[in-house]
Symmetry: D3
Subunit: 262 residues, 6 copies
């Protein structure tokens, strides 16, 4: 099977991560996966959500918000601030992003802080939720490094990097990292979120047109794992590995990550 842009079924699109893309937030990154471009920003604010205070849950919180710029899609998509509410799709995606990171971040280490992960899509060409997660992992590493250096928190709270990739099926053939045109036509659409150490964080497979079998599921998971390895390498390069200053117990970031490598 030959795909758009002459890709093989198991080839990622061209990926580029630009760290520290923005001036203000604690951490940020621009991620480009083929035609998809997402600005990922991590902001740290004092305080925790009301339900944590009410229940006396110790530590901090990690949450995420996602948006599509109106001109990021083929045919302008209406600005949600004007409509007055976020769509179900937006809500579903931002909940996925937040969830994906809460299982690798030690919330108790965050103190009374809320970590906001904002993922804003500038250009959308399929796979925006996966690109958001992969880019946000870099922005989080940069933000936490800054928090440790500023002694806002005593130690680096993120256990390892997280990346995500889409896989799909069309007419019985599997493919990795679908662009928009492929995604719209796919029979099955799947998103895999994984840690750098190879553990699954989220598996979401949906039969858009045609139910699928257990062996299809396995084939798609294999495909995803291949692509994710490449993404973890690209993340590493974007983050760099200077030591995290003041990170009392875990040593520098390089070490911290090294111990978690596949």
């Amino acid at each position: 099977m030959k795909r758009l842009g002459n890709r093989n079924f198991d080839t990622l699109r061209k990926v580029k991560i630009t760290p520290n893309f923005l001036a203000h937030p604690e951490g940020s990154a621009l991620i480009e996966m083929g035609g998809t471009k997402v600005i990922c920003a991590v902001t740290i604010e004092p305080g925790v959500p009301g339900w944590m205070r009410a229940q006396g849950v110790p530590g901090g919180w990690v949450t995420s918000e996602y948006g599509l710029l109106p001109a990021s899609t083929t045919g302008r998509n209406q600005r949600e601030a004007v409509k007055g509410k976020q769509s179900g799709r937006t809500m579903e995606i931002q909940r996925l992003i937040g969830r994906s990171f809460r299982s690798v971040i030690d919330l108790k280490q965050l103190g009374q802080h809320t970590v906001y992960i904002d993922c804003d899509v500038i250009d959308a060409d399929g796979g925006t939720r996966c690109a958001s997660i992969t880019g946000a992992s870099v922005a989080l590493q940069l933000a936490f490094r800054k928090m440790v250096e500023k002694k806002m928190i005593p130690r680096f709270p993120m256990k390892e990097n997280v990346a995500a990739v889409s896989v799909g099926m069309k007419n019985g053939e599997w493919m990795l990292d679908l662009c928009y045109e492929e995604d719209s036509a796919a029979d099955v659409d799947m998103n895999i979120v994984m840690t750098e150490s190879g553990k699954l964080i989220e598996v979401q497979g949906t039969a858009e047109e045609e139910p699928f079998s257990r062996s299809d599921l396995n084939k798609m998971l294999d495909l995803a794992e291949g692509g994710l390895k490449t993404l973890f390498e690209i993340q590493r390069k974007a983050i760099g590995d200077e030591p995290v200053k003041n990170n009392t117990p875990f040593g520098n970031l390089g070490d911290a990550l090294a111990g978690l490598k596949v």
Copy 2:
């Protein structure tokens, strides 16, 4: 491992489906799974969504809305009509329900109709989204049977029944059909939506506390398949198998379903 209520790790809670629970909608069912009770209603309305008309997509549409009654949970949950918006969780669940059925319903057969699946939780004790899907499949069968009999549509449009069940992991042990207390404590939480013929429609696995491995995933899928077989039998009994009158091409519902059996 002994669970709450002395269940085995692979035992469903007590399930009961009461068909035609409501007076007005075309199809309805009350489903009880242990302490979880959901009213599932299917209403047929003339017309299709604006985007279908605009794009000239032929056929009809299937959509879903989900709600929790304020007193259905431990500690009253705020009425969404008063808050003025649906939560992200609600949106995520109702999108899942709608999606689950669109892949087994031949939308082109529906004519210019919109099929609303309303799932309203009366008592919540874990697994409400899965119970909603399992109950809604029964309500849809009843509604489509009525549509065929009233000659609103020429043939029965639903290929086969759909059911869903949750599975989870806690301290390295797997379990089927989690109640609320088990669900809140689980390390991994997974929902499987399947057709009666054994194909997957949706697989959603989430590491709440601890990332999981491929073999954990497989173990949980096995567990789910066992539970789903029982659910399909219970659905069959609730639907009954009198012939569908006026169903021109496919014969009666019994036949239609028979051909799809596992």
Copy 3:
């Protein structure tokens, strides 16, 4: 005049109240009046509304919320959580329910608690606001009994039961407890809320089509009183009369209510 279902002008529809219908709230009841079915739930939450705190008003608060399930009516009615606001009709009804009980509950006895009365209509066939009030009175009795037994409050705070019934006029003839079809055609529509001791709490009469006279009003009030007597008996049976434990000053519920009997 012969009515739908062969009822006399002064006959109630078949009424059934199932106490403790739900698992979680402090008190609950399912009330069925002919084809109208309403789940009434009473939840107690710590704290009082902001305006009470601000003004330093002592005691607690009683409030109500009302909803129609989308499939409860002929022709699906749009979910208010999706529309993003409650209709004027919904607001009017839930204000009536709350008001009806505040005049028979000693708010000062409630301590710093808010009592939520949720009335959710499963099937609507006319008279839903009246059924809500009649069912909610039972749910409140059960909830307050539980509060006294748990020593959340020192004494039983509800002076007596409350019930409500609709009456109407069509072509100069009066009738009790209108079903939807009768209600839609009525010239005058009236709702009477009364205490078990025969005092009026709310009288709402509306000329939908034709203004009415003082003697019509009196005739309708007579009719309502007859129906309400039956409703109070049905409420009593649903509540039962085991003694309320720990109810320091007033003795058991049976006594408390006995003193208020007509």
Copy 4:
């Protein structure tokens, strides 16, 4: 009993109606009842609500909206346009106003028009809903007169004037036309809407503090009737009685109203 401002229990506050208070709407009036001042405006727009078009109901529609200016009350009340929604109280009142006039207006005579009755309270000192109705009746008469003269409709569609007044009880004593201070302290609060020919349109009695008896109800209705007679005279003077030009079948407005007099 001596009341605030030395009024007798059966005396209205000073009432003044200024017709044609506004420049743009088809009809308008400023009504002052003691310290309560309401601008009532009637605007005619082509077209009818969607539900009427959908159901093919012939004729036009009459609806109402009500508002309190933020500075109309003791202690600024928050602007509903800023809060983003109308309160339940506002909804309840505007529904009452619309309903009150639909039973005396022949909707079929209105053609495809919607009649908006806007009642905006400038100063609030109790009884704003009653003042709104009494003032709106004048504004409607003026607007319909204009419609007939412009030949927008063939004949005068309003059967007779409508007025409303509040009555209440405190410590077993009844009183007419309560000001804010009296209203806040009342045990029972009642609003009576009546036609000039003495028929009831709406009776709303509410026990705020203490349930009331049938004889209390009758006493309050008597009291209301007395006050309403005076209001109908004041309305007449405000409207004036020049003949309605072009009012083909009914003759001039003076005649039309004369035939309806008590």
Copy 5:
């Protein structure tokens, strides 16, 4: 050029300010400029906005809200409380009003109070934002006088009066104080907000149809200054000049204003 109503290009419409128009707010005024009528009300509430508390900004705050009554315009304009949000035009105007006064009020003198300026348009015939500002200045003077007399604040916090007027261009001709018909047709529309001592607070010039030159701008500013002088005189008469009691440091209001005269 002869204008509507035979006005000269540099003549204001007839202006009338009625002070203390409302019963409840601390200060109020009705301003009439030709066919435009606006009720301006100033209410003082304890407390300051959340952002001031959070940032520890000392002193009080001045803010404004603006609204059009639905029947104030040709063709009813939809009630914003019903639409559920304020329009961009409304927001723009109320921001302008608030801003205009914050530069002449010494916020630190206000203590922990918020000053609400509500401007509600009863009849709209062009220039409503300017009339609002001119009327609100009077209402503020009256309210602050009352605050000083009640010893809520130690000294009079408003440095001088503020007034506003519109100017415009049509076919190369300039004109002062446009009515609605002139405003709709204008090529350039400008609003000037000035202090009594002749300083500019806000200059807003907009080319609706045709960009304009620097010399046009100057001509329009000259025209505005002429009109504003008249407005300051009318304000003075409406306010009166009895001494402000208890105004410790600045002397009476007359003096305070005298020092600021043009």
Copy 6:
């Protein structure tokens, strides 16, 4: 006076415009003015707003929407899509942007199209509304060029470029193009929108702290004119001047613009 970054009072920050920054919209540009970065996108959609259709206004429409990304500011600013409404500031800015271009675009030439100008701020360091206008002018030129080439419209509808710049005053000194820190401290803040031929489109001057004089106004306008000349040159370079194909009557874009030069 020496400013932040050693700028002179009359020096712009470093300005860079990247045309065609996005993949999907008809025209787009990224503008950077010092630390302020705005993505400007122009999308063309068939159809015109409801009020134009209702009133039968010929031609098309130009409108604008503006947003700040949550992480674009010092201290995360809350996402408006989550708050459920746009702030007054956002509304005011997007209204300004739309207005600024409607006076240089021949709406009748647009046919039945709506032109959306989306300005989304990625990094905010003062002057975002001015940068938005300057960048949007480039995006509009590119979009209209494409429309002419695709023969969607017969001739180029935009008369000339538009640019905007801020000026301000602090302690009696004037300065051009304020960064955030300067803007927050300024006594007077002004935004000037001008056409390339030197005509004014919008002049907005606001005394934040201190009213200003006519001569201050003139000084600030002079300062703005100087900066705007530079901005028009930078716009020209970004647009380029290849001929617009198919632009029947006006010749190529270069000519069109040339005729309008200062």
